[in-house]
Symmetry: C2
Subunit: 453 residues, 2 copies
């Protein structure tokens, strides 16, 4: 019995074309992020369990992959044990909490404003479904060490320029502020104990519509008049005029809401004066799931696509959970998988084959070493080359060369070897000529001007 | 109480300089591997447990990190449970077993000879110690689909050229064959049940010396005369003459040993005719730990360094464990961590800073948006630029620019803004001049000719 060859549920194997596409996209994003002064870090795949727990909310806690203790550290199994007694490590769930730990650990040696990007895999024990994976890449930028709105402006500008550089032309950046949400709930008289559940319902407006949200709010026990008030505050549409209107309402009833609205007004003014790629709009229903956000929050959406392809916000308390004293920070995370899916559907993906350009075919016995030397000479000239490893009919060797996408086949036969030449076949045209090896290499380079750089 | 900021035991955080060094090294290795026609794949961090177990020997099985089942799939904890009842997924332990699974899963659509490289992290629950980590990168090349020695030649040539391209000049490739080892044990009359333990002892010759190995063999219950015979066969030194001598001995007593010796003689002849970087030698004590090897095995060693920096071999049975019918294969794995440690100690690492080249300092209130626009213009010209985010003394802003390694500071003050100019400070020389922004950009580019490419 052979073992199943499927990858684990919710994970994928990436074959060469997929790796090449992913690398090309990541390369563009990295170049843009570096142009803004962000520098790369990498953190381990797993963290001590206590680093990750209580950072992502109850639902997030359930979705963290935990690693079983090593056999010699595993306690005897008894019904009294809790599952967390079996584990002391867990897989990276996002890139923000590891960044917070790294900033706290290296605070004295890092620049005052540490601006890092990070492109690594994260793992979530979600139920796998179409387009949702248990293993996926995130591309994050984070700006730590300042409460200045230049930090918000910079991460938004960098993320939107990354999308623009990938070829996305129409996308919308939606802004809100956690304090605007808190202020609205305060104005409507909703008790703090219900804030989280209420925002989770409000956040679903796009998915379930206004009546769906009203049903969920009623199920939480909110009365008709409270729901009406909330609908008038948060569910009545977005836009800049709406933000100004909310700011005026908060002026009387909610200092928290007023602070949030003022921050957003200032951020909009800064974006007006120093524009970013994409349009920017106020969306009072935007809530973002993660519990660590404290100020402005944002999402990027692409037309005709449900859900966001990236988002982020300010989290001024998280690093302090590791450092003791707070360090302000703001970040933006792009979802690489969704970006790749859209780019593939829309034919935006670059195609950069990396397989051999030249296959050296061996037509007669005793010539394999000569073929290996020819391949080495072709490589030294800057072309990718391999030797067909078996003695077989030339037709099979040419078929193989075609299957890997080679543009040229060099044929080494006894007659050519005796004459000190090779036959060079152009796979696109079928033309075949006989040259000394050096001339064959020159002919290939002449037809392929980028190779020898 | 704040949480500890240490990474998990045996893992490391990589700060920007370390990431840059790692990327530069991986880039060189990838370029060489691609020049040989190898193409990249990536596989998931975790596999179904059954994919990994029984592939690495008993010791390896113990070192696989297992992932705890999700709460809803976890059985009630009772003393009757075995630890493996608690887990159904495990972290990647090497890159060879995942490759074997991928080749079996995609056999019909892959080229007849699938030649892949893979640079990913692996995890082993080893006891952490100096230079030994629980998370580390491997760089593997594997050549599947043929028993031709061109496959061995190709993976050895590619791995040794990768090291040469990184700047290693003196290194030695040691060759042996699993069948030579089996043949030697057969000649000495050692029962098959003791082959594994005997080879483990022989493999330690470099570490414990000949008398240490003899002690270990005696502890296995081997008699004095058997140990003498083994010492004369395997422990009497290496070299090509030694290989020919063993081949002659096998001709009478061990068809398995004879086949292994003949293969190595043919491989040496091919390397003589088509040389690879580095010297190549026969080492009859080389055993390699992993249980899946079936033919030639190899290691690369650097002078003055205990242990190998890479190794591999032929494993003609592994893919068949997933596919049902066998697919021959041979691979070579470079240990990136050891390569990086040596390159750092020897000053061989390239230094490629990626932080901002230009910091835009803001000297007066109300100018942050102008500074953001200036930074955007500098970026558009191909230089990495950031804005100092806070209003503070110019001296602090200059110190920050120095701390990130910026070569230039653009100073935006009220007087300059009114005059439509900026002050440009060269951080290396301290020189400062006033220009229109476009001229300042031109001055920076003139001093930094590679930026705008």
């Amino acid at each position: 019995m052979s073992v199943s060859t499927k990858p684990a549920s919710g994970t994928r194997d990436f074959l060469p074309a997929a790796v090449a596409a992913r690398r090309a996209v990541v390369g563009v994003v990295q170049r843009v992020y570096e142009s803004y002064g962000f520098v790369p870090i990498e953190t381990p795949a797993f963290e001590r369990l206590e680093v990750l727990t209580s950072k992502y909310g109850d639902e997030g806690d359930q979705l963290i992959f935990r690693i079983l203790k090593r056999r010699d550290a595993l306690p005897a199994l008894t019904p009294e044990l809790r599952p967390d007694d079996l584990t002391d490590l867990a897989l990276r769930y996002d890139l923000t909490v590891p960044l917070a730990r790294v900033v706290a650990a290296n605070f004295a040696s890092l620049p005052k404003f540490f601006k890092r990007y990070q492109v690594q895999t994260v793992w979530r024990a979600d139920r796998p479904q179409r387009g949702r994976f248990r293993e996926f890449y995130q591309c994050d930028v984070d700006y730590t060490g300042t409460t200045s709105l230049i930090a918000e402006h910079t991460v938004i500008a960098a993320a939107s320029e990354a999308l623009a550089s990938l070829g996305f032309s129409a996308f919308e950046i939606r802004l809100n502020d956690r304090r605007v949400l808190t202020g609205a709930l305060e104005l409507c008289g909703i008790s703090p104990a219900l804030h989280g559940a209420t925002l989770t319902a409000v956040d679903k407006l796009d998915k379930v519509g206004i009546s769906g949200v009203r049903d969920e709010l009623a199920a939480l026990g909110l009365g008709e008049s409270t729901i009406d008030a909330l609908a008038a505050t948060l569910l009545g549409g977005g836009g800049r005029a709406r933000l100004d209107e909310l700011a005026a309402r908060f002026a009387d009833g909610s200092p928290t809401g007023a602070a949030g609205a003022k921050t957003l007004q200032d951020l909009f003014a800064m974006i007006d004066a120093a524009p970013v790629s994409g349009s920017v709009e106020f969306d009072p229903t935007l809530a973002r799931g993660l519990s660590y956000y404290t100020g402005p929050i944002f999402e990027i959406r692409v037309p005709d696509l449900a859900g966001s392809i990236g988002g982020g916000g300010r989290y001024d308390g998280l690093i302090g959970m590791f450092r003791g004293s707070p360090v302000p920070a703001v970040g933006f995370s792009l979802g690489l998988e969704r970006i790749l899916v859209i780019m593939e559907e829309r034919g935006m993906l670059p195609s950069e084959p990396t397989a051999a350009e030249v296959v050296v075919a061996v037509a007669d016995e005793g010539l394999q070493s000569l073929a290996l030397r020819h391949a080495a000479a072709v490589r030294a000239a800057g072309l990718r080359a391999e030797v067909y490893p078996e003695l077989t009919k030339l037709g099979k060797q040419l078929s193989y060369a075609e299957s890997v996408g080679a543009q040229w086949v060099i044929i080494v036969g006894k007659r050519e070897a005796d004459a000190g030449v090779v036959a060079l076949k152009n796979m696109a045209t079928g033309d075949q000529s006989v040259y000394p090896l050096g001339d064959a290499v020159a002919a290939m380079l002449a037809a392929h001007p980028t190779a020898a750089t």
